[in-house]
């Protein structure tokens, strides 16, 4: 087992590659531990029988119901998209892809047939800008 430890020096270009990775699927454990709560405490707050369900939520073995997800937001005071940052990223990318497809479909139509607000929203989605920024203020 003996041997010489090998250090791997990271050059900046390698670090840039590292920055492209995905975020974790969820940060439930992080925020629970930050708040000092035990799994049993969170289970009680969610209305679950014991902490095992909470453990499964935290290791992504099980997805919580919408009610429990909202309860998590209420407990930690963190938006769902931050609690489920990795999942949000994936869903966002999928939605962007679909928006691009929809935009391609709509490009075959005349602009006046599409509707300005609708087109602005879809364009913004395809370009990954927040949708609420795309909606023109009336």
């Amino acid at each position: 087992m003996s041997g010489i430890l090998v250090a791997v020096d990271l050059i900046p270009s390698q670090m840039n590659a590292l920055t492209m990775s995905q975020r974790l699927n969820n940060y439930l454990r992080t925020y629970r531990r930050r708040s000092g709560l035990y799994q049993e405490d969170v289970a009680l707050l969610l209305g679950c029988e014991n902490g095992s369900k909470v453990s499964r939520y935290e290791c992504s073995a099980r997805e919580p119901s919408l009610e429990n997800t909202l309860a998590y937001e209420a407990i930690f005071g963190i938006p769902i998209r931050e609690l489920y940052a990795g999942m949000y990223q994936k869903v966002e990318e999928k939605t962007m892809r679909r928006a691009k497809e929809l935009l391609q479909k709509l490009s075959a139509q005349k602009p006046e047939q599409c509707g300005a607000r609708r087109l602005a929203l879809i364009k913004a989605l395809a370009g990954a800008h927040p949708p609420h920024h795309a909606i023109p203020k009336s």
Partner: protein
């Protein structure tokens, strides 16, 4: 939307102890994702490697940060040196990068904060990451052996020193 696609550098820092190891997982210098102790009583080498593997699977880190035992003032025993070497090999096998940080580099990182001893470094870390405060051991008297929870802070210090070196 774009603010959530921030640059991510997830690292796993490990500090072996006589009973297992302490670990800290960072996502950039601001976010401490997880921290804790993993204990092994028998067959420490294999149990520790299994637990490190589980952490790697759970957090999928880009870099594993461990202590450089080749450094001049390192006083790590042979078992720990072998364990750290095993972690390097594990990282290689799984395609992770392993970064070795020497103890003087950690101390240099915290020198600006006026912390030179392990206890002072732990204090600085718990001020920066208040979630660690509950694990901060009481002041160690000269006749006391080191609290096992100190390895959480040692791991966090390694991780922080590495992230600091990137800036």
């Amino acid at each position: 939307m774009n603010q959530y696609r921030t640059t991510v550098q997830r690292i796993l820092a490990i500090d072996p102890t006589s009973r297992g190891f302490g670990y800290a997982v960072f996502e950039g210098p601001e976010l401490l994702i997880d921290w804790g102790l993993r204990v092994a009583y028998k067959d420490k080498y294999n149990v520790c490697l299994r637990r490190v593997t589980r952490l790697i699977e759970q957090y999928d880190p880009q870099v594993i940060v461990i202590e450089d035992t080749r450094a001049k003032n390192s006083r790590r025993c042979k078992r720990v040196q072998e364990l750290l070497n095993g972690i390097v090999q594990l990282g290689k096998g799984k395609g992770f990068r392993t970064k070795l940080i020497a103890s003087p580099q950690v101390k240099k990182t915290f020198a600006d904060s006026g912390a030179s001893t392990k206890e002072e470094i732990a204090g600085v870390l718990s001020a920066r990451y208040p979630e660690l405060l509950q694990h901060l051991p009481p002041h160690r008297k000269c006749w006391m052996s080191e609290d096992v929870r100190m390895s959480i802070f040692d791991a966090a210090a390694l991780g922080y020193a590495f992230l600091n070196s990137l800036e």
